[in-house]
């Protein structure tokens, strides 16, 4: 059965070694909010962060929304579940409305496919959505930088689970060449936000893109990988708070 699914997926994802690589995108770092020990994330922090962006001359442009879905296979025989990848994640990004991204975190695989795959999966009843998260908020322009600040909420609730921030530098797309720029920008950001004495800070952990077969030129696949990692960090920190309480 799984072989059939794989075969269908391969066709749908149009695996072709000679296909053009993903379009180069300006590079981006995704940060998540790490609350201090003993405190939680709340919408007040989100407001403060938004105000901070505006204080460094960020111009509010519009809304943005990304989604991340954990899939589990629909199996008749649950014993077979061990054969399937442990974390199968699907991501939609606002800058690529016609694409849908799949990440298998433990297998270090990332794929870009057409957004119609979601409909096909539903019709085939092959995979079901287990948990879905929405990342949504406002987008700001700061000259050659673009910032997105967003809250993390489960798809059918309003509980704020976390805060993410995207920092994008538009003129170039090389990860290596832009490292210093991104670090210095974060220093400028830290200077601004530390004045507000918020109980926590933004953290960026750079995933090892080469593990996923991704190159130095930034693409939306890199973004998908970053979101996967950020989500697992968020879940870990939420669980840590919960176990702390217990």
């Amino acid at each position: 059965m799984s072989v059939v699914y794989c075969h269908i997926f391969r066709r749908l994802i149009s695996y072709n070694p000679y296909r053009k690589k993903s379009t180069t995108m300006p590079l981006k770092r995704v940060f998540f909010w790490q609350p201090n020990a003993g405190s939680t994330v709340n919408s007040q922090i989100l407001n403060e962060v938004s105000q901070c962006v505006e204080s460094i001359n960020g111009v509010k442009e519009g809304r943005w929304k990304a989604t991340l879905t954990f899939y589990k296979p629909m199996l008749r025989d649950q014993a077979l579940s061990a054969e399937f990848p442990r974390e199968f994640i699907g991501i939609s990004l606002p800058e690529q409305p016609n694409k849908y991204y799949f990440v298998l975190r433990f297998n270090k695989i990332v794929l870009e496919s057409d957004s119609s795959i979601q409909l096909i999966m539903e019709k085939l009843q092959s995979y079901k959505s287990r948990v879905a998260l929405n990342f949504e908020g406002f987008q700001y322009q700061l000259g050659d930088f673009q910032l997105r600040v967003g809250k993390v909420v489960p798809s059918h609730s309003e509980n704020l689970r976390g805060i993410v921030m995207e920092v994008e530098y538009l003129p170039i797309s090389s990860l290596e060449k832009s490292k210093q720029i991104m670090e210095e920008f974060f220093d400028i950001w830290q200077d601004a936000i530390s004045k507000r004495s918020l109980p926590g800070r933004f953290i960026h952990i750079e995933p090892d893109f080469s593990d996923y077969g991704l190159a130095d030129h930034y693409t939306s696949q890199h973004t998908a990988v970053q979101y996967t990692h950020v989500t697992s960090q968020l879940i870990a920190s939420v669980q840590a708070v919960q176990t702390g309480r217990n």
Binding site: P26, L170, I181, F185, H217
Partner: protein
């Protein structure tokens, strides 16, 4: 046809004789000083009248001058009778009369205070002012009328002053090196520095006497600076290429090889190189993942650059040419700075302008890594534009282009040593550099 022309001239002459007649009688009838004994409205009306006369006289004088020239031209043609001489004499007479009349009218206007502001402060009980002729020739009939018209008394003098200020600002912005000669109040050290610079520039230019042709310059550049991709294009070819950009990193190998400037290319025989060099009008300097610079040469095939622009390595479109503008702020700022630098190179180092410009452009390969020499940081918020930018200024006056020092500076750039070309943020850059 020439005869008809003569007839027309005579007709004009008659007409002008008629129009010339009244003014002499008019001027002789009015008393010389008309400011006393007449009510202000009449003074003003008379002044306006005289201004009108003066304008007509000036027009007549212009026509007369044309006719004099015409008569001279006709006289220079062979086989002419004494007609041109006759015409000339007539014109001469009427011109002298016009000029005399103009002098008279002018004197009257002066006396009545129209040509200067002497009476302006002396407003009479009627609240009227004499008309004023501004230095730009505009006639201000009534000062209060002009105020009503919303011009708030700003005369042409003020407008000229504003225009001059705007022009001076632009000049200072785009041609800062021209101001050096006017700065007589500079301190000794500053003036010494400026005096030394032309000497330096001269020395360096001598060293590069072998870099005269375009292909020499480009070959030299390729040898000295690794990591750089130089390509040359004819003007239309460049437009085609610009529209097809951006090419993703993987597609570089599929680019048309004929446009890459490879002096040691085996694929192309040497004679073909020389032929195509004559038509080269666009030079593209590409530092992968950092920037793309476009330099235009005018005329094609020469070593005279006429414009330069910087773009993102991922940008593409038909707006990408040497007079175009990037969509990104950082490259727009660099382009503006580069335009000033280009003017400097063309003005002070015209013999090696292209060479200097290309090397100066290459100093930007450290755009995203070299910190500012003044504040020590890579990014800074520019106060004027409220943008966060890396150091976009590279000094061009002290750029040393002798071969030895260049290779030294390029290798030290990679080491970020103290000899590396300097970089500054917009706010950290002062004009002395």
């Amino acid at each position: 046809m020439l005869q008809q022309h003569h007839q027309q001239q005579q007709h004009h002459h008659l007409q002008s004789a008629i129009t010339a007649a009244p003014p002499p009688s008019a001027t002789t009838s009015t008393p010389p000083s008309s400011t006393t004994g007449e009510a202000p409205p009449k003074q003003v009306a008379l002044a306006m009248d005289r201004l009108g006369q003066a304008a007509r006289l000036i027009a007549d004088i212009r026509l007369g001058a044309d006719r004099l020239l015409e008569a001279l031209f006709v006289a220079s043609q062979p086989h002419q009778s004494s007609k041109p001489l006759h015409l000339f004499r007539q014109e001469d007479e009427s011109m002298r009369q016009h000029l005399q009349d103009l002098r008279t009218v002018g004197k009257q206007l002066e006396e009545s205070g129209v040509l200067n502001e002497s009476l302006r402060s002396r407003s009479n009980s009627w609240g009227l002012h004499m008309p004023l002729v501004c230095p730009d020739g505009a006639v201000v009939a009534y000062a209060w009328k002009r105020q009503l018209a919303g011009q708030a008394g700003a005369s042409a003098v003020d407008r000229t002053r504003l225009a001059l200020k705007a022009f001076t600002d632009q000049k200072r912005r785009f041609f800062p090196h021209l101001d050096d000669e006017e700065d007589g109040e500079g301190t000794d050290t500053v003036s010494k520095k400026h005096r030394n610079l032309p000497a330096l520039a001269e020395d360096n230019q001598d060293n590069l006497s072998d870099c005269k042709t375009l292909s020499d310059v480009l070959t030299n550049l390729e040898k000295e600076i690794p990591n750089l991709k130089v390509s040359t294009y004819e003007r239309l070819d460049w437009l085609k290429r610009a529209s097809s950009l951006p090419a993703s990193a993987n597609d570089n190998t599929m680019e048309a090889p004929k446009h890459n400037f490879h002096s040691t290319s085996i694929l192309r025989p040497a004679p073909q190189n020389v032929a195509s060099m004559d038509k080269v009008a666009v030079i593209e300097l590409f530092f992968p993942s950092i920037f793309r610079a476009v330099v235009s040469l005018h005329p094609a095939g020469s070593t005279d650059p006429d414009s330069v622009a910087f773009f993102s390595p991922d940008e593409g479109g038909s707006y990408m040419h040497s007079r175009g503008s990037s969509v990104y702020h950082v490259f727009r700022q660099i382009t503006e700075h580069a335009t000033v630098a280009l003017q400097y190179f063309l003005g002070i180092r015209s013999k090696t302008a292209l060479y200097s410009l290309l090397h100066w452009i290459c100093s930007y390969q450290t755009l995203f890594t070299k910190v500012c020499n003044k504040c020590g940081r890579l990014l800074a918020m520019d106060r004027q534009s409220a943008l966060i930018l890396p150091p976009v200024h590279r000094p061009y006056r002290t750029l040393s282009v002798s071969k030895q020092s260049l290779s030294q500076s390029i290798s030290s750039t990679l080491d970020q040593g103290s000899n590396a070309p300097e970089a500054y943020h917009i706010g950290c850059f002062s004009d002395n550099m």
